[in-house]
């Protein structure tokens, strides 16, 4: 069965550095999402993306965050200047029809 793949599985970054999290959605999917899960907390929506533009974003998704679909296969989340509170598991999801299919996540640790 096709899967959403995310790389890297674990990213360690110094505070203030830029980080790019990568996702390869399922190939025929059209809708793409990023969620995050701070340790011990619920999964929170960050942003959705369709037709090469953001469909919806949460209040978490401020100017430090950006998303891009640079080619036909990748979907990236960039955090421009990381903060300690950005430490979390980040999940990518994609959908053609409901439900959304989730990747295994990237654990981001900010030092």
């Amino acid at each position: 069965e096709p899967e959403v793949t995310q790389t890297p599985s674990h990213q360690v970054t110094q505070m203030g550095q830029e980080v790019i999290l990568r996702c390869v959605p399922i190939s025929n999917h059209l809708y793409f999402y990023w969620y995050r899960q701070i340790l011990g907390q619920k999964v929170e929506f960050l942003v959705s993306f369709y037709n090469n533009e953001i469909s919806e974003k949460s209040e978490i998704f401020d100017d430090q965050f950006s998303v891009e679909r640079p080619d036909g296969s990748n979907f990236t989340l960039k955090i421009r200047s990381t903060k300690l509170e950005d430490s979390a598991m980040y999940f990518c999801a994609s959908a053609l029809n409901q439900p959304q299919h989730f990747g295994d996540g990237t654990r981001l640790s900010i030092l």
């Binding site: 995310q6 059209l30 809708y31 999402y33 969620y35 907390q41 619920k42 999964v43 929170e44 929506f45 959705s48 369709y50 469909s55 919806e56 949460s58 999940f91 959908a95 029809n97 409901q98 439900p99 959304q100 299919h101 989730f102 990747g103 295994d104 996540g105």
Partner: protein, 115 residues
């Protein structure tokens, strides 16, 4: 305001015993409803979904869930748990009027299985 509540943060169950995880939602209309499972260090795996129709839905790994409109609930059940069912379980809702909109997740229920 829309919300998803999983009242039980932590449940301990003996292997072979039955399991029921609760999920309640507050929503303007009947939302799309989902249960996901997350094993340690893993991603979110879909167990089952409800869009409409038969209120008892079957999922993978022997799980089922029942939608009860009158109680705004979508509880997950398994008749006999296995040690491999130890994981965190998340209830999620999606909007039926925004089919590709965001999911809202509950806080999760951690399930521990004892021998």
């Amino acid at each position: 305001a829309q919300s998803v509540t999983q009242p039980d943060i932590h449940i301990t169950v003996s292997e072979g015993a039955s399991l029921e995880l609760r999920c309640n939602y507050s929503y303007g209309a009947t939302p799309y409803l989902f249960w996901y499972v997350q094993s340690p260090g893993q991603g979110l795996q879909l167990l089952l979904k409800y869009f409409s129709g038969d209120t008892l839905v079957q999922g993978i790994k022997g799980f089922e869930a029942e939608f009860k409109r009158s109680q705004s609930s979508f509880n997950l059940r398994k008749p006999s748990v296995h040690w491999s069912d130890a994981a965190e379980y998340f209830c999620a809702v999606g909007s039926p009027t925004d089919s590709w909109g965001k999911f809202q997740f509950g806080a999760g229920t951690q399930v521990v299985v004892t021998p």
